[in-house]
Symmetry: C2
Subunit: 523 residues, 2 copies
């Protein structure tokens, strides 16, 4: 089973069915398949070689899906690029991957102009919705129309061949390319179907950025079952709600900050979202308070949290918010990221690799056919992360007697203050409960007395007022004294990653840099 | 991934959850797991060796599931036995498999006494609910209680190792043992989860006999997702309906004759079957008329047909009876057995192995990780059936432009009369539409004029009256003249296989034997 087989199946079984809804465009699977054939022909004609790398820098659109399938048809390795990176970071990734080809949309032409001088291996650039620009750039649509369709794949893919390269920013150092094989991608596609119960009645909205695996996996899963793809250029609460209503979307995945945006959108109840059956979220934990608010906006919808990493392609655990969790005797599980899904092994281990006892904190490790082959040209980091087939997440967690995993913190996010360990998510949960709070991040900052001090960075809702003392008093109700932020900063917004996750590393970095400057030593 | 991993997962994630409902017995997954540990210990102590074969001859009961898991723990190959076979047939299978061990229930002790003198390799027999009988037989429950639990598997199973041997009667010759590997069994378990959308909320009733793969697959699928097993010793319409109501069964698989029995059960509307979400059926096609009747008994339930063979472990195609099929524009698909499920390739080919054109008749062939390794010690039959990884079903079908497959007949069931091909299911469908008909089989019988004559064998509903002429007149409305049975026999019942399928080979055999006796030559 290969990625291309998912599209071939849809072409054979669902030729006339709606595959694509993208703005005013509608393509059946027969039409989508024919476009992929022609795009593959155009890419091959432009010199793309089996095994070569091809970057993609686009908003969510049908051409993203087409490029995923066409690149694989030619035999190339796809490198999706985060649109929010700086020009030099993008050039670094393209050079690191030695990408020969790039597909971009017109929106990103200015960004391309800013980094193209720094790239060393690019030979050909296709622009979606763009104009021809001398010899260097050619138009996606006109190349596609003019090309000879590529009927047969140019490469005899093996399951263990690397087919996609996802660069993860990581908390330190340069981005690393996560190598996913055909087998990894297919294993996760199966897991997605099993966990989310997809079939050909499903309509999926590409709501989070397609360069991130949190959405990308759906490209072949939805195709495999013969479902329908709906594309949102960028996420806005109203745009998303409108797509749900207009296209009768049945399943979706968002990140918690997006759900938070919907919860705070006053017009949300005006949209008919009755077709939605399942709303999943991942990438970061969701404060319980916000989860309950979201459930009241979508009372007929099943909510599910998914946990995983790019390195696990990405799903590893799932938590379905059944009634016994939301309203019943198992309310404690609201704070869990769920249990291993069928087909993936997930354990929580101590530093010697032994399973921790229920309640003790250890590191989440994962194994299965979905686990990456390694980091591109980084054998040392690979062997540090992948040990005996187990990928080490860096996430610290506890596990209960029934396998429910509770992330207490990213390993690097643990705050040690006055000898006590404080897990920042616990503090954030407390802060989020205050009605004036829109978003919050808690970090450890250097402190001459405590070593590290618990520090809150908070965004208030529009028009809301709150002081640090009031917030501390409020938190005192729910968490121990040593966990309460000793300092709070109110800011207009928080830095986020391309997928909408709050970038705690960036917030933390600023404080530690100042500390280094003041003390002259690295902490 | 191995069969044992499905149980280990359930023990780890669902230790306190109800695993088993069997009469008055209730076992959690912790309890079921502990019983399997002890049974495995008892089997190992009784001399069962890794790689050896162990037969099972039981009605549906929890011990069947336990034996499936315990045999695999020891490393043995399970051989489920059809309870309706004659003593000499059972002895043939046990000798052919060289089985050293046997587990039976007390109900089958008389049958055991009738064949045990003919077996040549049996060393040990465990009897469920039985008494010790000298040295030869020992009691399942007391051996289980007294044994040392087997904590670790005795065999390092590889995915390609044969783990189960299912004897299929076939239409001619001696039964053949279908060799299923660990990988086959796990592939089908995944397919089952994907197609039927199982999760830990599901409650499954073992309604068809567990010796047949039509039910056996559920043993590890339901365990894998942490669902609940309900056992019915034998199928009766009322017993089945009571189980649905009492245990809130959510998913079930029956054969059409069983569904027919429920449709004709006057008390059916008295049972609360509201928990049932999906009713699947397989093993033979269901007359459209009966399907509609069944839908009116279970109006809230999704109906799904599954097609496959023991050789495909077993699922290959599925048809969900959506509204557009039942009431809408795609009514023609009511006669289809569906389309290939994700993960299995299904084609309809001509004699040279090329895909037939839509509408042309060819043979159904199937390929995928679920396809058997071959027939036990039958290399020639294996190479005849398995070619380039494609299992040749012997079923003749057409396929439409969207992959819907229409079985026109078992290859051996095609009737050639006066130079015209008649597919017996088409004639049966016509007969079933008559309100007086309970069951019907159509076969070709020797005829001096036509070569073969279309012959109907019909069971009428209690108290109903019908003549052959009236039936012919009735059929004339819906099928061509040459397809109408030229002779009809009314009988009190039809011979059935152990799984409840009408045994057309047995009906046909009688006529051809008489013909041979009369003409002195084999036809």
């Amino acid at each position: 089973m290969l990625i291309q087989d998912t599209l071939e199946r849809a072409r054979r079984l669902y030729p006339q069915k709606q595959a694509v809804i993208d703005g005013d465009r509608r393509f059946s699977y027969a039409e989508l398949g024919a476009r992929v054939d022609r795009l593959a022909g155009a890419l091959a004609a432009s010199g793309l070689q089996p095994g070569a790398r091809i970057g993609v820098l686009m908003q969510n659109r049908c051409e993203y899906t087409e490029t995923y399938f066409a690149a694989e048809r030619v035999g190339a390795v796809l490198v999706p690029l985060n649109q929010r990176l700086a020009p030099l970071e993008l050039a670094f990734i393209l050079n690191d991957a030695q990408a020969t080809h790039l597909v971009i949309d017109a929106v990103h032409l200015p960004l391309y102009q800013a980094f193209c001088g720094e790239t060393t291996t690019l030979q050909s650039v296709l622009v979606v919705d763009g104009e021809r620009d001398g010899d260097a750039l050619s138009s996606y649509e006109s190349e596609l129309s003019a090309s000879d369709p590529l009927a047969a794949p140019l490469r005899d893919w093996q399951p263990d061949d690397v087919v996609q390269l996802y660069y993860t920013s990581g908390t330190t150092g340069r981005p690393k390319g996560v190598m996913l094989t055909q087998a990894n991608v297919i294993a996760n596609a199966l897991n997605g179907i099993m966990v989310m119960h997809f079939d050909d009645r499903d309509i999926w909205v590409h709501g989070t950025p397609m360069f991130h695996l949190a959405d990308a996996w759906s490209s072949w899963t939805i195709t495999w079952v013969g479902g329908t793809h709906v594309y949102l250029r960028e996420f806005t609460p109203v745009g998303y709600l409108r797509a749900l209503a207009e296209h009768r979307v049945t399943v979706s995945l968002l990140v918690p900050t997006m759900i938070n945006g919907i919860v705070n959108e006053p017009s949300a109840p005006d949209f008919d979202t009755s077709a939605l059956r399942l709303l999943t979220f991942g990438a970061s934990p969701m404060p319980v308070d916000r989860l309950r608010a979201a459930m009241s906006v979508f009372p007929h919808v099943t909510f599910m949290q998914l946990y995983g990493m790019t390195e696990t392609a990405p799903f590893a655990t799932a938590l379905r918010y059944d009634d016994d969790i939301v309203n019943g005797p198992h309310g404690r599980r609201l704070a869990s990221c769920g249990r291993e899904i069928a087909g993936v092994s997930v354990r929580v281990v101590d530093e010697s690799g032994r399973d921790v006892m229920p309640g003790d904190v250890g590191e989440i490790v994962m194994r299965g056919p979905n686990v990456m082959k390694g980091y591109w040209q980084q054998p040392e980091v690979t062997s540090d992360t992948l040990r005996d087939g187990w990928v080490h997440s860096g996430d610290m967690a506890t596990v209960d007697g029934e396998g429910y995993i509770f992330i207490v913190d990213r390993r690097k996010d643990m705050i040690i203050t006055g000898g006590e360990n404080v897990y920042s998510t616990e503090v954030e949960d407390a802060i989020y409960q205050h009605p004036a709070v829109l978003e919050a991040a808690v970090i450890g900052v250097p402190d001459p007395y405590w070593g590290e001090r618990v520090h809150g960075v908070v965004v208030l809702k529009e028009g809301a007022q709150l002081t640090a003392d009031e917030l501390a008093t409020f938190c005192r109700r729910s968490i121990a004294g040593y966990k309460i932020p000793r300092s709070v900063e109110f800011v207009p917004d928080l830095p986020k990653t391309g997928s909408g996750k709050i970038q705690k590393a960036a917030i933390r970095e600023r404080y530690w840099r100042e500390h280094e400057a003041a003390t002259g030593r690295r902490v």
